[in-house]
């Protein structure tokens, strides 16, 4: 298993490093509808590959992690409220792909986020989403309000 397992949980906004020359940012605004998750994941993965993310990490790590984050944003953050949107921002810098998923909900329970682990009951039906995100990306940050998650994938 070559998946890196570092995690950084910080209760403040991510301040992205100022890129020396050019910075590329890709934003997608989604309705709070589970039906768009797959397409959104595809779009983001495609553009990340265009910017040099390895096919393997785009196909698996990025896709699964983003899918989890979008599902949570739509289900828990926006409660599938059609008037609310999910905002995805991908910032591509020399060393990193930063994938932020922000919803218009009340925000996260920080405890749920800080102590993420596998459910004690192996046969639990849920509770594996945040755990998988942590496993599949190199770093995870939560924004101040708790309604935005930033997933960092290193380029290599």
């Amino acid at each position: 298993m070559t998946v890196p397992l570092r995690l950084a949980v910080r209760r403040h906004d991510v301040s992205l490093p100022e890129p020396a020359r050019t910075a590329l940012r890709i934003s997608v605004r989604l309705p709070s509808d589970l039906e768009v998750v797959e397409e959104a994941v595809d779009v983001v993965a495609r553009h990340c590959v265009a910017e040099g993310l390895t096919a393997r990490r785009a196909r698996f790590n990025l896709r699964v992690a983003l899918c989890e984050a979008l599902a949570n944003a739509i289900l828990y953050g926006n409660a599938e409220n059609a008037a609310k949107h999910v905002h995805v921002h991908v910032t591509i810098t020399e060393p990193h792909f930063l994938v932020e998923v922000q919803d218009e909900g009340a925000g996260f329970d920080p405890a749920a986020f800080a102590n993420v682990s596998l459910p004690h009951d192996l046969e639990a039906l849920g509770g594996r989403g945040l755990f998988l995100i942590r496993q599949l990306v190199d770093d995870v940050y939560l924004n101040e309000r708790g309604n935005g998650i930033c997933m960092v994938l290193r380029r290599a």
Binding site: V37, E38, R56, A124, L132
Partner: protein, 111 residues
């Protein structure tokens, strides 16, 4: 993205996952498998040979189906997982919960 379903000569029902098994289509898979169980099927093999990725909801759906089948003395098994998907089951320790076989042919022989 869709699910295919066929009954093998051995009596095993093989469900193919074409594309993703995720939050938006897991209910469809559950319904298909439960319908098959209602129709008497007891041995169900999910074939992931053509599957892109699975998310935690998809995993949850598989766990739920495995439970339901066990309740009627049936079993749900998995086959055709690529390296990435195998990693997913290992990370979540669900590889210990399911009988996972490399190829569908192999799985059908042993089921």
């Amino acid at each position: 993205m869709s699910f295919t379903m066929r009954k093998d000569a051995s009596g095993v029902v093989v469900v193919g996952v074409d594309g993703q098994l995720i939050v938006s289509n897991r209910h469809e898979l559950k319904q298909k498998v439960l319908d098959a169980a209602d129709g008497g099927a007891r041995k169900i093999l999910v074939d992931f040979s053509d599957t892109g990725y699975i998310d935690s909801s998809g995993l949850g759906a598989l766990v739920s189906l495995a439970k339901k089948l066990r309740e009627v003395d049936g079993e749900l098994r998995l086959a055709g997982l690529n390296e990435d998907l195998r990693t997913l089951f290992e990370l979540t320790k669900l590889d210990t919960l399911f009988t996972i076989t490399e190829t569908v042919d192999d799985a059908l022989k042993k089921f």
